[in-house]
């Protein structure tokens, strides 16, 4: 009870402060007309990067370094989960669900996979991108894990493969960034480093952005699948 009242007092003070602060925020429209960043990206974004989806342009070009950091965060989380569940490396179940479920998931799986691929590859044209598509792929392996039992996953897409994919995705991202330095520009330079901008709105537009998306997609999918698999697997340690 004391704990609750103390918490309420803290929250009341914090709430008053935050509300007072939020009341003084400028309206979005005012800020955007003043913000150099947003104005530049809205007016020049397409010609700068060749990507129609400006959010993707920001994520993979203007602020590509953030995305590298974010990919590394997933990498760290996956590594951390693996480290915590070290030595517990046995499949949980071999049975899975009924054969009807197994058959229907086999029909469904290619579609889910292609959907993921679409979300990844068209990230610079339509909503979506490497991260969202990667999560869809990860969900696919989770579904397989549930329907077929973890033994199936253990045998076919084992931890080794996932670790390999994850590392390769991350390294591909860094290599794509280093191309910029190699071409005499800066780390993670896109169009300036000689990638072709293409016709905005087409799949081949956006210079390195689709490639970066693919790298991130692989990394995210493998990383999240690793996390899930390690969390469900049996504890023998």
């Amino acid at each position: 009870m004391i704990r609750k009242s103390v918490a309420l007092v803290i929250l009341a003070i914090l709430g008053l402060l935050v509300m007072g602060g939020l009341a003084e925020l400028p309206l979005p429209a005012e800020r955007m007309s003043e913000s150099v960043t947003s104005r530049h990206i809205l007016s020049e974004g397409v010609s700068d990067t060749g990507a129609v989806n400006l959010v993707t342009a920001v994520l993979f070009d203007y602020r590509g370094f953030d995305t590298l950091g974010e990919a590394t965060v997933i990498f760290a989380a996956a590594a951390g989960v693996v480290l915590l569940f070290f030595r517990h490396d046995l499949p949980t179940s071999r049975l899975g669900l009924s054969s009807l479920a197994k058959r229907s998931i086999m029909v469904l799986a290619p579609f889910v996979f292609v959907t993921g691929l679409y979300i990844v590859m068209f990230g610079h044209v339509t909503p979506g991108g490497g991260f969202q598509g990667g999560v869809v792929w990860a969900t696919l392996t989770i579904l397989l894990c549930i329907v077929y039992g973890t033994a199936f996953e253990w045998r076919f897409i084992n931890t080794r493969t996932k670790t390999l994919l994850e590392s390769l995705g991350a390294i591909a991202f860094i290599l794509l960034g280093l191309v910029g330095i190699y071409r005499g520009d800066f780390f993670l330079s896109n169009i300036a480093a000689g990638f072709r901008a293409g016709v905005p709105g087409e799949l081949t537009s956006g210079g390195a952005i689709p490639l970066l998306n693919l790298a991130i997609g692989l990394k995210v999918a493998a990383g999240l699948a690793l996390i899930f698999y390690n969390m469900v697997k049996k504890d023998v340690g």
Partner: protein
Amino acid sequence: MSHLPVMIIIWPLIFAFLTPLVDMVSLRYRKHVVITFVVGQLVLVGLLIFGDSGGTTYYPLGGWAPEIGIVMVVDGLSRIFIMLIAVGTSLAMLYSLADIPDKESKYYVLFGILIAGMFGLVLTGDLFNLYVFIELTSLASFPLVAIQREGPAVRAGLRYMIFTVLSSLMVLLSIILVYGALGTLNMEEIGRQLVSIPHELRVLILALWIVGLGLKVAVIPLHSWLPPAHAEAKSPVSALLSGVLIKTGLYMIIRLPLLMSQGKDEMMIQFILINIAAVTIIGGHLLALGQRDVKRVLACSSIAHMGYIVLGLGIGSLLGLVGTLFHALNHMAMKSGAFFSLGQMVKDHYDFDSVQGKGRGAPWMAAVFLICCISLIGLPPLGGFASKWILGMAAVEAGQPIYAGVIALGTFLSGLYYANIFRILLNPDVSVESVKTRWLSAGVVGVTGFLCVVGFFAATWITDLIKIVAIGIL
């Protein structure tokens, strides 16, 4: 244009990403890979710090202008912290080779990510990028705490994690508010425009920063996560967390509020900082006095030392800032050294009953431990004395001699518990067998002992260097 600033961050990332691949081939290459990495890192950092004239350089990522993309900034302050991080992490990494089994490949992955995160944190000139790196460092450090995978270690890691996530959320909120108010994320631009933010919003932003970062550097009301986390980890990780990681929070405290605030706000912040620091010094030492476990004592003393470091900031003068930075460097050397040498003397249990007489089993390690502890207490002729002396002088010079008294009291208190530890470690009534030390870890321990001594005899030279930097900050 030199690509060094970004290469320093990329290098440990490449190490982290390649380690799993190398381990798939064979675990035998661990030592070669790690040593290559450490040497490469030291070369890169050396080139960055001593390679140019020492002014401020910018590295625009992707070639975008600073206000549009992300920019890396190398200035005096980041150079000092890069040096601190590079030395501290290299030592801990080499020490790990002997202490951590080869099959723990994820340990090295996380270690590499942690290094990259800390470098990124002190180099970036973009506020949101800073947040990403804060999360990167914290996320990589949680599992490292729990590497022993035993109940108390996991629980310490969990507690550390909950507190740190809360602090990151507060920092993130304040970053969002800054963007909401100014529409920019470039830190220099923010420093220039912060005055134009309406008063209440600015107070909120600064309050969230200080509370969030206070949680990170563990000043006293917000410290309770630190002792278990730093004590339950293995020696190299304890050294890394106590010696290096909490200093990154200090970096942010120096970098942001002092730059961002002017006039009345600044006075207020300094008043708050200096008093929190005084409470932290006394409280940290009292906490340490109450512990019955050597590693916990060292962890609690880290709280007190963060107090000394923040005290210098709170004084707000040039000399205070010099003392702060100097003490941060010294504390890295002496606290890492204490954890390293303790780890060589005692292998697993660190409570007072188990460590009886263990110092006599490894006399050389005990000697270095003694040096580090004397430095931590702050007695001449060692580094800790030099920096505490400067902090005391700064307090007197600023007309607040009471805080010099606090420092003296802290020194007295820490003398008490370190004397007690030594009485126990060198207890002649218990028979112990001698402990063998591998040459690599012995070398690492030796280097830290050497750094503690250098801290005193090269004090004037070092402080002169720091002074040049500090003038640039104020």
